[in-house]
Amino acid sequence: MELRLPDPVVMAIPAFIALAVLEVLVARWRRQPAYELRDTAASLTMGLVNLVQGILFAGVIWWSLQAVYDWRLFDLPVTPWTWLALLFAEDFVYYWFHRLSHEHRIWWAAHVNHHSSQHYNLSTALRQTWTGNLALTWMLWLPLALVGFPPALIVFQKGVSLVYQFWIHTEQVKRLPRWIEAVFNTPSHHRVHHATNPRYLDRNYAGIFIIWDRLFGSFAAEDDAEPCRYGIVKNLGSFNPLRIAFHEWVEIGRDLRRARSLREACGYVFGPPGWKPDGQGTTSDELRRAWQSAQQQAAPAE
């Protein structure tokens, strides 16, 4: 019998709208400038087009998952235990997808738009990629089908993860109980992820569980003494969705035109964002080193 599951993202749209409305009102009540009209319009447009391209791409991804599933190593039954295993396995895949999306420019080009708002609110959660499927990031989920997880369950869990990550894009929730902060991705952890402060750059890649960041050394806790500065290192200054969606691809094209060797071309495409051949770039590691060096120099004077 064919397994049929609903699309959690489509099901969650009314909740997305209701929570965003609530956040706008709460922010207003607290007199916080959480929302800006053009920024919100850009984020929501990005989300809408992402929804449409997701529907258009669904067939390709479904066919690929089925093709791999035909070669599966195990026959995993559809039981709560299988779903529980997939909850962790899919989240592990998400962690590495997200980390690769930050550490390699070709995938950063598809993901950067999600970070391009200088605001951090529930509309930012919807500022989703238009080019991620073209960048083939979905192929990272194919091994789950090879293991034997049913494709319908994989697609369902991928949607559950996306829905989970919606509510953590808020400044209205400060900290949750310690055990939740220890295990789950929370608004606090994800604020760090969206910050450009050097100490926070490229940290907290988690989807649902923060355990992967703690395990693989990419965790940073939010420090109340250092408020997050949201956005990207070189903020766009544009609310045009086309520029938001394609700016890094355009920049890659420009860099490729000026590349003087195959090594440089590969560096511009597959190196970390901000990489330059002369080592004078603005990668996250370079910015963090410069910041740490400045901190150490400032320390004796204090």
């Binding site: 997305f16 965003a20 207003r28 400038p33 200088q118 903020n235 766009l236 200054g237 410069a290």
Partner: protein, 137 residues
Amino acid sequence: MDLPINPALPLGGIALILTLVWLTGGRRSLRIAATGEAAAALCAPEIGFDAREIVLSKDGQAALARDGEGRVAVVFVSGSHLAARKLDDIAAVTLLPQGGGAVRLEVKTRAFTRPDFALLLDASDAGVWQQYLREAA
């Protein structure tokens, strides 16, 4: 063909949220009121620009800064936030006289997302900063 979603739902939701943001004051735009604000935006570690000279546009929408090595950076209003960047891709600098002794200094860059900046300056400042920008180009 059955759509997986009724388009009225996300479109209506977007309209509702935007209306609410508009009604709750989301149209605001910032002004750079003092050189200190521009300097603060530039000295964030991820920008790392040590401004020695700063000039503010009379409309408060942008500022130019120059460091000790002759590099130039711009700070500009982006909605309700400031954005700052080093100007390492200047394509053209032009001066356009305005009324009342002011001059509009236009800077065109090769950036894709925000290629143009304009500042309203006094004529004396405009000439100096045009020269700085040409040297940095």
